[in-house]
């Protein structure tokens, strides 16, 4: 479904990604963990080409997408993304936020797009909030709208970049619930998160990144209970505590 081969990325002198090779099959939920600055966000952004990899290849459904002849806009329609800071469009209501992509990008008729947006908002439990502006929503509600917004594009896969780390503890649950449901419905997902409960119950695989490379990869139980790598062990023991 999503495959990367030897991704490299430099920011000036900084070599942020140093050869990331990964494969996620359909319906898989891959969780990426790793210390701050290890390049997790950059890697995620390389997949939907918000950041262009300097070297290496990104495949979606077997098609290499980081090519000059493929528009990044097209790639981004195939994979949805949810940000740590929600990034809901401030000037639009919840409904308008969700409907915007289908209307503007997919040129769907407005009423059709809005009907679908209502369904999606209901799916994330926010049917009553469709007329609210982002500033009128709690962090958890905003993030759920952001998930609905990404889903509205009918993506083949979803990328989550620390979706709960900007949330107050009491709102984390509701967002994770939505994500877990999504996973059960068979959505292919790559999730950067340090929510270990979520990772161990939902993830099919866990990847530990540090210094721009993948240090260890395995099933949740293996990574959490029997990490092979010394650095993984240190990191896991830190976040499990």
């Amino acid at each position: 479904m999503i495959r990367t081969e030897d991704i490299h990325k430099h920011f000036g002198a900084l070599h942020v990604l140093r050869g990331i090779t990964l494969e996620v099959t359909r319906g898989d939920v891959l969780v990426i963990i790793g210390p701050s600055g290890s390049g997790k966000s950059t890697f995620l952004r390389c997949i939907n080409l918000l950041v262009r990899p300097d070297e290496g290849r990104v495949f979606i459904d077997g098609v290499q997408v980081n090519r000059a002849d493929i528009r990044p806009e097209w790639v981004r329609q195939q994979v949805g993304m949810v940000f740590q800071s929600f990034n809901l469009f401030t000037h639009l209501t919840a409904l308008e936020n969700v409907a915007l992509g289908p209307i503007r990008v997919k040129k769907a008729p407005r009423d059709e797009a809005e009907t679908k947006a209502r369904q999606l908002l209901a799916r994330v439990g926010l049917a009553a909030k469709e007329q609210s502006y982002p500033a009128e929503l709690s962090g958890g509600q905003q993030q759920r709208v952001a998930i609905a917004r990404a889903l509205a594009m009918d993506p083949k896969a979803m990328l989550f970049d620390e979706p709960t780390s900007a949330l107050d503890p009491e709102y984390i649950r509701e967002v994770l619930d939505v994500m877990a449901n999504l996973a059960h419905e068979g959505m292919t997902m790559i999730v950067v998160t340090h929510e270990m409960g979520f990772a161990s119950s939902v993830a099919s695989r866990i990847v530990f990144m540090d210094g721009g490379i993948i240090l260890e990869e395995g099933r949740p139980l293996d990574i959490f209970e029997h990490p092979k790598n010394e650095r993984t062990r240190a990191f896991v023991s830190k976040i499990l505590r």
Binding site: N48, L50, P72, E73, W74, V75, R76, Q77, G80, M81, F83, S85, F86, N87, L88, F89, T90, H91, L100, G101, R104, V105, A122, R123, V124, G125, L126, A127, A128, K129, Q131, S132, Y133, P134, A135, E136, Q141, R144, A146, R149, A150, M153, E174, D177, V178, N181
Partner: protein, 291 residues
């Protein structure tokens, strides 16, 4: 999905008409009348003097329409120029940003009257004769009105320079995350500009733009220094003739009070109108910004 639904809780925009608002306006009208009557007692003039208005009335009316005409000409130009320059400054292209910066700094650093004067006196020399003739043919501009039009452009550019800063601040206050989220949806640059950046910029820029429009209206009075067909110019023309035409010296006070009052009403209406628009489009989370 198993997440509880919440209740609707939209905050309402404050009412446009309220009793305290009305009270303030009544208070203002009374205050204005009081101010004018105090002035007319101290300076011994009567603003309602029918003999004054018999002579000055036509000038006043013609001047008022002239001022409105100049505003109608200058306002759109200034917004266009200001928006373009503001955009150029954040565009990231040095070749665009740099001239726009120089333009803004020049028009903000030099008194508008100086630019207006020179545009009026010598601006025509910069327009090739052929273009002048062309303009005469197409728009019917006489060679007499061209200098005034150039001076009006100077006013527009001056205001445009200030508006450029307003728009620039608006553009810059839009967070990187908004743009990134739009890109993540697959929007192209133009779409992002149109449906995300522009609406937010315009909303953020409205309050300072309202002030700027009021300033612009007041700045059209500078055209009066050139004897343009507008309120100040025609009033000046009439006052200059008072000694010759056998009027009273104190008429000047009545005239300039009326002129001032007219500008006051115009700026008041414009700021109120923009505030109304602003309320109409109020968006929670986008109004906290003050630029």
């Amino acid at each position: 999905m198993a997440v509880a639904t919440e209740h609707v809780g939209r905050t309402r925009a404050p009412p446009i008409f309220s009793l305290s608002n009305a009270a303030r306006i009544v208070e203002m009208v009374i205050g204005g009348l009081l101010l004018i009557s105090i002035m007319s007692v101290v300076l011994k003039f009567d603003i309602r003097d029918p003999r004054l208005w018999a002579g000055y009335g036509p000038n006043f009316v013609r001047g008022f329409w002239g001022t409105l005409g100049y505003i109608a000409l200058i306002l759109p130009i200034s917004v266009g120029v200001g928006f373009a320059a503001g955009w150029a400054r954040v565009s990231g292209h040095r070749m665009l940003a740099w001239p726009a910066g120089a333009f803004v700094d020049f028009f903000r650093g030099v008194p508008p009257i100086v630019v207006i004067l020179f545009a009026f006196l010598f601006g025509v020399d910069f327009i090739p004769l052929r273009v002048q003739l062309f303009l005469q043919d197409v728009f019917g501009t006489s060679s007499n009105s061209l200098p005034f039009t150039l001076a009006a452009f100077a006013v527009a550019f001056h205001s445009g320079a200030y508006q450029a800063e307003i728009f620039r601040a608006g553009f810059q206050s839009i967070s990187r995350g908004q743009i990134e989220a739009a890109e993540a949806l697959g929007m192209r640059h133009f779409q992002t500009m149109r449906s995300i950046i522009l609406p937010q910029t315009v909303r953020l820029s409205l309050p300072p733009l309202g002030n700027e429009f009021a300033v612009l209206i007041k700045d059209t009075s500078l055209l009066g220094a050139l004897g343009a067909t507008e309120l100040v110019g025609l009033s000046q023309e009439f006052t200059a003739q008072i000694p010759i035409s056998g009027g009273q010296i104190v008429w000047a006070f009545a005239i300039w009070s009326s002129v001032a009052l007219t500008y006051f009403v115009m700026t008041f209406l414009v700021t109120r109108l923009l505030r109304l628009i602003e309320r109409r489009f109020r968006t929670p989370g986008l109004d906290v910004m003050s630029l």
